[in-house]
């Protein structure tokens, strides 16, 4: 574990990276890679030198674990769903589904059976991923270190790869449905004739509309990442206090965080529904 506060914070924000190191690369301990191979990064420098050809094992592992937890739980209920008096678990699942159904009904007026389950997946998955933030910051890293892993960051939404991965998925869906619903000409017309409905302003319109479209996945991903990242940093800072004083700050912050987590999950879901609804609007 690192010594100074800055090192401590940096350490906690570093992902466990498994990536490709080129032959001839000099490692942290002075040894030189004899051939190009995949390995775990031992320092932040190594992780960044791996470039694009690397995986954040912790991010992927925990996000997939949360997704499986969510789908496993909901599938468990779905397989046993009764039309009679529902049990507590089924009630909980149904309340969640009704909540999502409500916001989809309000925000999305076209017919598409994908949208509501998509929104449900987004909401619960992001909620679970961000909720990992509430696990005390040292628990899992210390455990991982005992198992020989140098870095371990469990909150996937503190990794921009995770948030961008989801927002790019949403982006691809909006483009797909824009083409599917409006057709190529319809979509082109929407891009070219809005907001100024005049042929001479088509280039301006195109630039504006495409900019708006491109900005969306960035705003989606960065909003979620920024909020959870900031919260996590605050948790790490609180963890620098003497152990007997930490609860005075960490408890209020965690309680506040209970508000932030569902709010961010809700905003992400809501905006996704709005973007997809716009993609389905046929002028």
């Amino acid at each position: 574990m690192a010594g100074t506060p800055v090192e401590y914070i940096k350490h906690h924000l570093q992902n466990l990276t498994y990536g490709k190191l080129e032959a001839g690369y000099e490692r942290f301990d002075g040894s030189v890679m004899s051939e190009t191979s995949w390995t775990f990064a031992r320092t932040a420098q190594e992780a960044s030198d791996m470039g694009f050809m690397a995986f954040h094992v912790d991010t992927l592992g925990w996000s997939i674990a949360m997704g499986v937890l969510f789908l496993g739980l909901f599938r468990f209920v779905a397989a046993r769903a009764t039309t009679g008096v529902p049990g507590r678990l089924q009630n909980f699942v149904e309340v969640t589904i009704e909540f999502i159904e409500g916001i989809v009904r309000d925000g999305f007026h076209a017919r598409n059976p994908i949208i509501a389950p998509l929104a449900l997946t987004l909401f619960v998955w992001i909620l679970l991923m961000s909720a990992l933030d509430l696990v005390p910051v040292d628990f899992i890293p210390v455990l991982a270190q005992a198992m020989g892993l140098e870095y371990f960051k469990i909150v996937p939404s503190v990794d921009p790869n995770a948030t961008f991965g989801i927002s790019i998925g949403v982006f691809v869906l909006t483009i797909f449905y824009s083409f599917k619903v409006k057709g190529i000409s319809g979509f082109a017309k929407e891009l070219g004739m809005n907001p100024f409905n005049h042929w001479a302003l088509i280039p301006v319109n195109l630039v504006l509309e495409i900019l708006v479209m491109i900005v969306r996945p960035f705003s989606l991903a960065l909003r979620l990442f920024g909020n959870i990242y900031a919260s996590e940093v605050v948790f790490i800072l609180i963890a620098l206090l003497p152990f007997w004083a930490q609860w005075t700050l960490s408890v209020p912050w965690a309680i506040f965080h209970l508000l932030i987590i569902p709010l961010q999950a809700f905003i992400f879901t809501m905006l996704t529904i709005v973007y997809l609804a716009q993609a389905h609007e046929d002028h």
């Binding site: 992927l60 789908l71 589904i97 998955w125 991965g165």
Partner: protein
């Protein structure tokens, strides 16, 4: 904070999760919810119908009660009349019977009086003959004077 293959891995995971949710999670739960909604709606309409039925039945019962009361009143009336008739009739009978009895008694008395008078008459005739014999000191020929004696007896 390096952008790397995690991004693509995350997108793939996202796609798979959405596919699974669309196919295996959402439909069964919403179907169960809709089925329950229908059940509840059916139950509510059945309850409405039942309360309507109850109202009708109560109305019918009230009508029947009224009818039964009226019938009972008629029956009681008839019974009262009949009782009065019977009482009247038996009074009549009793009076007639009594009169008949009195009549019979009178007839009997009359008969006995006639018998007694006859017996007395006969005895008076015998006494008269005996008295006359005493007076005349001779026997009176009953046969010869029977006509006179009968006349005498008839006068008594």
């Amino acid at each position: 904070m390096n952008i790397n293959l995690t991004l693509i891995g995350q997108s793939i995971a996202f796609a798979i999760f959405v596919w699974f949710c669309v196919k295996y999670v959402w439909p069964p739960i919403t179907a169960a919810m809709e089925a329950r909604q229908k059940k509840i709606a059916d139950g509510l309409s059945a309850a409405d119908r039942a309360s309507l039925d109850l109202e009708l039945a109560q109305e019918k019962a009230a009508k029947q009660m009224q009818k039964a009361k009226e019938e009972a009143a008629v029956l009681i009336d008839q019974a009262n009349k009949r009782a009065a008739q019977i009482v009247e009739a038996s009074k009549d009978d009793a009076r007639k019977e009594g009169e008949k009895l009195i009549e019979q008694a009178r007839a009997e008395i009359q008969q006995e009086r006639v018998q007694a008078r006859d017996a007395l008459r006969t005895e008076v005739a015998v006494l008269a003959i005996a008295g006359a014999e005493k007076i005349l000191e001779t026997s009176v020929d009953a046969k010869a004077h029977s006509e006179m004696l009968d006349k005498l007896a008839a006068q008594l």
